[in-house]
């Protein structure tokens, strides 16, 4: 019986992938348009959508402590509502950033012959975990308010940092030639 379930599961996996193949949009996802779009997203990131001070402010408990001790109930309520909206928006922005990075990575890595399958799988898992964590954090903030999960914000930030590090490792080889030029250039400069 276990054997039957095992082989039927393989069949189900194959069938599901065929189903998605049949329903798949014929528009090539990795077109130049998509690459430009991803690049624009990266430029937007680079411009600094989320400065560190902002994050500190959104989740800083001292703001809430101050409002709670000084302001009347109506103001406290309004503060909490507004802060919740801002926190949710922040998580959404982080999610968008991660998605842009993933999209960029997929679009670029597939064309590179020295792609490392182990790193790719690690990266795919990290991205998947991170996206789920973002969704969960959104839910927690939505239900419990902006100060409900300070540790989760930290954990998510750490995971994002880890994913970024792996992504950087995975893409590092792409720039090997450029790094060689840079290092020889700097040597030349130092010599002069």
């Amino acid at each position: 019986m276990i054997q039957l379930i095992f082989f039927l599961s393989i069949g189900a996996l194959l069938f599901a992938s065929l189903f998605f193949l049949a329903r798949r949009n014929s528009r090539p996802e990795g077109s130049s348009g998509a690459l430009i779009e991803a690049r624009q997203a990266l430029v937007a990131l680079q411009a600094g959508l989320l400065p560190a001070e902002l994050v500190h402010r959104i989740f800083a408990n001292e703001d809430w402590e101050f409002v709670r001790s000084e302001a009347p109930a109506k103001v406290r309520e309004l503060f909490m509502e507004e802060r919740k909206k801002v926190a949710l928006l922040w998580v959404e922005q982080v999610r968008t950033q991660i998605r842009s990075l993933r999209r960029f990575h997929r679009g670029s890595a597939r064309s590179y012959a020295r792609l490392n399958p182990r790193l790719e799988m690690e990266l795919a898992l990290s991205f998947a975990w991170l996206m789920s964590a973002c969704r969960l954090l959104q839910l927690v903030v939505y239900v419990g308010g902006p100060y409900a999960a300070p540790r989760m914000v930290g954990a998510m930030a750490n995971a994002a940092s880890r994913a970024c590090k792996i992504s950087e490792q995975s893409l590092a080889f792409l720039n090997a030639a450029q790094l060689g030029i840079l290092s020889s250039g700097s040597t030349g400069q130092a010599a002069s």
């Binding site: 393989i10 193949l21 090539p28 690459l35 430029v43």
Partner: protein, 252 residues
Amino acid sequence: MWRWLVEGAGIAVELSLLVRALRVRLVPRYYFFYTYITSVMIGSAILMTILLRMPALYQKWYWPLQLATLVTGYGILLEILNHVLAPYPGAERFARISGLVAFGAILCFAMIAPRVIPQLSPGTVIEFERDLRSVQALFIFGLLALIFYYGIPIGKNMKGMVFGYGLYIFTILVSLALRSFAGASFTTIWSVVQPMTFDVSLVIWLVALWSYCPNPVPSPTIHLEEDYEALVTRTKSVIGHIRTYLGKAARA
């Protein structure tokens, strides 16, 4: 009567596929696929002749021919690698590694198993084929997962090829698993389902390969290498930026 009709229809569609391919010059483009079709057609013709003239020998010839077409069926997977993934060396490398592992497993099974078990009963041959088909199924699944993950475009010819073969592998795998579990009582259903599904796959191939539709390739107007290097430099800078910012957020 029903069986003859299904088998005869299959040979007719296989012949149509080959004639059409010769007319629109598809054979040199999809060499491995048409080698598979030719091997299947020859195998079916041999089996039909045996069934007509020497029915006692049918069982003896069925399994070796089935295993031969199973190995040539790997050609379809090679076609996908060559046509769909060729412009994407990274994804192709990924697929080749998993493909080689799967092919190695098939060869090991085909060459070692008969030596280890010389008295292969029909039951064990069924299980043997089921195992090999599951390797193929896993490989197609992995290949499609890769295509979806990296957003690789797939043309009409290739889509039809993968879909037709995948559908056949799915049906045969489920049938073999059920036959292996239920025993001889499932033989009647299995002997009808298998050739019928293959006929469906043949029709899918005939429609998908009616004319040549090249697989979409990335736009040549974009200088990927140059753009990519610039993009990497920028992304590295962005990653550094995000890391610093997230580090601060984690400490906040």
